[in-house]
Structures are given as structure tokens and as C-alpha cells.
């Protein structure tokens, strides 16, 4: 248990020190965070709602089946 704790603390320090000592990489981290924010908090929420969200499994099957068996 003690060993596991030591490893966890070491890993935590490794990442913490890595981020703290960043120089040229710091703007890249901000860039990644900005992009992920735009993707998930803006595009996903306002522009990319799944077309079949809110449907039950049966309703999804019916929707696709109707589209497939319809004629052009």
C-alpha cells in the first residue's frame, strides 16, 4: 500500500513539475485547452447535436428502416 502511494506521489510530482517547468510548451497547452473548449463547449453543444438523440432504440431502428425501405 505504501509503495503504491509512493508511486502515485512520484507520478503526480512528475506531471506537476513537468507543467511548472514548461517554457515553449506552455502556449501549446493553452492552445489545446482552448481547442477542446471550442470543440466540446461550443461546436458540440450548439452545432452538432446527434440527429437521433432523445430517441429510444426502437425509434432509431424505425427511423433508419423507413429511410432504407423508401424509394428514391
Amino acid at each position: 500500500m505504501g509503495r503504491l502511494k509512493d508511486i502515485t506521489v512520484s507520478v503526480w510530482h512528475f506531471y506537476r513539475d513537468g507543467f511548472r517547468n514548461m517554457t515553449w510548451g506552455r502556449p501549446l497547452v493553452w492552445l489545446i485547452l482552448l481547442k477542446i473548449f471550442i470543440l466540446f463547449a461550443v461546436l458540440r453543444v450548439f452545432f452538432f447535436k446527434p440527429a437521433m438523440s432523445g430517441m429510444t432504440e426502437e425509434q432509431k431502428i424505425e427511423t433508419v428502416a423507413e429511410r432504407m425501405t423508401g424509394r428514391p
Partner: protein
């Protein structure tokens, strides 16, 4: 333009944008891993600094490229919901494995690679660098398994109850992941990434030589980058050959479009450009036989006997069988709860022609012809630029080896110009692969007009321009950061400059 066209344009733009970052990730990962290996073996600090410089550019590319693939998954759910439902069972496993691998393997070893210099042992760090690249490569495999299945849908059966293509067993999963189209597509795509990485390293290093900066670093990088790129070029040619054979076998219309071949035959000639042909070459490339049969567009429309003697029905016949299958599907679904016996008969009728089900959605035989001009020229640009890359890599390596490269300013300029050209080459490859298989999202099973969601063209147009603005902004940021890092140059010792 209708909603299908706008959705296709949007998906094409997103995929093309994603493919700006992937090949450089795959290629630079190998270059820096090789450099770090030399550092660990020779214990020479110069190679450590060289590897760290390319790692910096790798990080810039990675930071801007990260999560661009997720947008494709957004589009699946919003624009292509029928398709997403249809492939849900089959895509679930490979994409989940890809997600888990990408996140845990790349994220873990990526962190060790960047934060771990002087904190972990040399060998552990080296292993992390290699595993970052291997993780990215394995991720690519799972994505290309999904793409390969769309080009050649093996290992699945259509379930009329769920309206999905499903994998029925473990052996089906194996069939999907060992799909020959996926394997050759993986080899072709990954090794084209090595060429991209090699050209990028050679081009940037050439700029240093032109500027009279970091001479030793530039020449050493050209040797490593050039070798990686050249090995990649050889592997691209070999895997391209197998891609051609697979196209002939599984997607003959794509091959006919790429060749602009209206009427095929035995001993078909290969068109280099219109008016210049190499006799029998197309048959050799497509079938590995001098007089192998290659069908043209008209043969595919009207029906033909393939190289193995199998009779391939005309497209009109396939449309008829596809419509019978779809009618039987509708009948099965209307009867399954009320008349199980009649439903079983309808199901058997549906299964009889299920391989042509997608054709039932087409209006006329000509609907199976992709945009021939686009595919024809994209193929020629891909091959032509690919050969140019191989030649430039060979020449730069030769002159670098002879220590005469710094004086060959014309070659250094060409190497720099090759950086944008190698990207155009890769994009052309995807145009051949994806435009060439139109009208299908899944070959023979689901055309794009059925795969689409019930959306308005206006909604897709809006998101297209939002994406265009966001993508352009991030690309501009990446290029700015990348050029800044290149201008600053590597932190090699003064005596090495």
C-alpha cells in the same frame, strides 16, 4: 447544393484537415526515435539535442492536430446518423480500442517523452519515444480498419431486426481486422507519413543549409530524415501496388475512374497522361498478369466476366436485385410481429440479394460512376508527386553523404518546395480513395443519399463556414508557432553549427 453535397464537402474538409497533422506525427515520431536511439547507443549529446529539436516541432504539430479527428465523430452523429446507426455495431469495437489506445498509450508516453528528459533513465525515455510513435501508428490501424471495412465490408451480416451490419462472432471480428483492404491501406497511409516526416526534416534542414546555419545538425538530420523518407517511399510503392490489386478486386469502378477507362479488356494499357500510354501496364498493375482482364466503366455498367471467370451482373440487374431485397426487408419488418412464417420467407428473400441491397437505392445505373476527372487527376498528382519525393530524397541523401549538399542550392530549394507538395500528394491519395468510391459510404450496401440525416442544407452550410473559420485560425497559429521554432533553430553546441 443539396444537404448530401454540403455534408460531403464538410466531411471532406474535416478529414483533409485532420490528415494535415497525422502524417507528420507518424513520420516525425520515427525520425526523432531513430535520433534518440543513436544518442543512447553512441552516448553523443549532439543527437540528444537533434532529437529534442524535432520533438519540439512534433509537439507543435501534435498540439494543433489533437482532437481534430473527434470532429469527424461529431459529424457522424449529426450529418450521417443513418450511416452511424447502420455501422454502430461494427465500428464500436475498433473505434473504442483506438480511443483507449490513443488516450492511454500516447498520452502516457508523450508526457514521459517531454517531461522525462533527465528524470527517467535514458532507456526508459527512449522506450517512451518509440512507444509514442508506435501508439500513434496502432491508433491509425484501428481507424483504417473502420475505413477499410467501408471500402470492402467483410465479416458482417445485415440484421433486419436492428437494421445494422453486425459482427456475429469472434472469427468475424478477426475477418474485419485482417481485411486485406484495411491492411494495405494501413501500410500505405503510415508509410506515406514516413515520407511526409522525411521530406519535412529534409526541407527544414535544407533551409538551414541555405542560410548557412547549423550545418552539422542539418546534414545529420537530412541523413536520418532522408533514410526514413526513402524507406517510406519504397514501402508506399509496394503497398500502393497491393492497393491497386485490391481496388481491381473489390472496387473496380474506382480503378476504372482513376484510369479514365471507359472500355476495358485484356492487356489493358496504363495512361500516364492523356495521349501517353504504356501497353499492358494497367493489367500488370491491377492483376499482376500481362493479359489480365480490367473492366472499364461501360463494362461495369453493362456487366462483364472478371479475371477469374466470374460473371458480374450489370448495374441495372444489381439495382433490380437490390430493390427486391429492400422490398423483402420492408415486408419482413411489417410481418415479423404478426405472421412469423411469412416473415421468415421474406427474410430469406432479403438475404438472397442482400449483397446488392445498396443498389436498390439508386435511380439509374450511371449513379455508380464517381467524378472521373477528379479521381483521374488526383491519382496522377499523387503518383507523380510521390515519385518526385522519392527522387528528391535520393538526391539529397546522395549529396549529403558526399558532403556536397550545401553547394547544391537548387536542390535545397526544391527540398523546401517539397514540403507543401508532400501534403498535396497525401491529400490527393485520399481523394482517390474516397471520391473514387462514390456514391457509396459503404461499398454496395449504403449510398450517401441514404446515409444522410434529415437535416437542412442551410444548417450544414452554417457549420461548414464555422469550421472553416476555426480550422483556418488554428492552422495559422500552428504555422506561426512552427515557423518561429524553426527560425530559432536547435540548441546545438556552437562547434556543431
Amino acid at each position: 447544393m443539396d444537404v448530401v453535397t454540403w455534408s460531403r464537402i464538410q466531411f471532406a474538409m474535416t478529414a483533409a484537415y485532420h490528415w494535415l497533422f497525422v502524417p507528420l506525427t507518424l513520420g516525425l515520431a520515427l525520425v526523432m526515435a531513430v535520433m534518440e536511439t543513436i544518442y543512447v547507443v553512441r552516448k553523443d549529446e549532439f543527437w540528444k539535442k537533434a532529437a529534442r529539436f524535432w520533438m519540439k516541432l512534433f509537439a507543435v504539430n501534435f498540439a494543433v492536430g489533437i482532437a481534430t479527428g473527434i470532429i469527424l465523430e461529431f459529424e457522424f452523429g449529426t450529418n450521417w446518423s443513418n450511416y452511424s446507426w447502420f455501422v454502430g455495431d461494427m465500428f464500436g469495437a475498433p473505434l473504442a480500442i483506438e480511443g483507449i489506445l490513443a488516450f492511454f498509450m500516447e498520452a502516457t508516453f508523450f508526457a514521459v517523452m517531454f517531461f522525462g528528459w533527465d528524470k527517467v533513465s535514458k532507456r526508459f525515455h527512449l522506450a517512451s519515444t518509440w512507444l509514442t510513435g508506435i501508439g500513434a501508428t496502432i491508433s491509425a490501424y484501428w481507424i483504417l480498419v473502420a475505413n477499410g471495412w467501408m471500402q470492402n465490408p467483410v465479416g458482417t451480416t445485415f440484421n433486419p431486426d436492428t437494421v445494422r451490419s453486425e459482427m456475429a462472432s469472434v472469427s468475424a471480428f478477426w475477418e474485419v481486422i485482417s481485411n486485406p483492404v484495411a491492411v494495405s491501406k494501413f501500410c500505405h497511409s503510415v508509410t506515406s507519413g514516413w515520407v511526409t516526416g522525411g521530406i519535412f526534416v529534409v526541407g527544414v534542414s535544407s533551409w538551414y543549409l541555405l542560410k548557412g546555419r547549423h550545418r552539422k545538425f542539418a546534414l545529420s538530420s537530412i541523413i536520418v530524415g532522408g533514410l526514413v523518407g526513402l524507406v517510406g517511399s519504397g514501402a508506399v510503392m509496394l503497398s500502393g501496388d497491393s492497393s491497386g490489386v485490391h481496388a481491381a478486386e473489390f472496387q473496380p469502378m474506382k480503378l476504372a475512374a482513376a484510369e479514365g477507362l471507359r472500355d476495358g479488356g485484356r492487356g489493358a494499357a496504363f495512361t500516364i497522361v492523356p495521349g501517353i500510354k504504356v501497353p499492358k501496364m494497367l493489367s500488370i498493375l491491377a492483376t499482376h498478369q500481362l493479359d489480365g482482364y480490367v473492366p472499364g466503366i461501360n463494362d461495369i455498367i453493362n456487366g462483364y466476366t472478371d479475371n477469374d471467370g466470374n460473371v458480374v451482373p450489370s448495374v441495372s440487374e444489381k439495382i433490380r436485385m437490390g430493390r427486391e431485397s429492400l422490398d423483402a426487408l420492408a415486408k419482413y419488418r411489417s410481418l415479423k410481429d404478426t405472421d412469423p412464417e411469412a416473415a421468415a420467407v421474406a427474410k430469406a428473400e432479403m438475404e438472397e440479394n442482400v449483397q446488392y441491397m445498396g443498389y436498390g437505392h439508386l435511380e439509374k445505373p450511371e449513379d455508380v460512376i464517381p467524378p472521373v476527372g477528379v479521381v483521374f487527376w488526383a491519382f496522377r498528382f499523387m503518383v507523380g508527386l510521390g515519385m518526385l519525393m522519392a527522387l528528391v530524397l535520393l538526391l539529397t541523401l546522395f549529396f549529403a553523404w558526399k558532403d556536397k549538399l550545401a553547394g547544391k542550392r537548387w536542390l535545397l530549394w526544391i527540398a523546401i518546395i517539397c514540403i507543401p507538395l508532400v501534403y498535396i500528394c497525401g491529400q490527393c491519395g485520399w481523394i482517390v480513395a474516397e471520391v473514387g468510391r462514390q456514391p457509396w459510404t459503404i461499398q454496395g450496401l449504403l449510398p450517401v443519399n441514404v446515409a444522410i440525416s434529415s437535416l437542412s442544407a442551410g444548417a450544414v452550410k452554417t457549420t461548414f463556414f464555422v469550421f472553416l473559420a476555426v480550422f483556418a485560425l488554428f492552422l495559422a497559429i500552428e504555422i506561426r508557432i512552427m515557423l518561429g521554432a524553426i527560425r530559432k533553430g536547435p540548441e546545438v553546441e556552437p562547434e556543431n553549427n
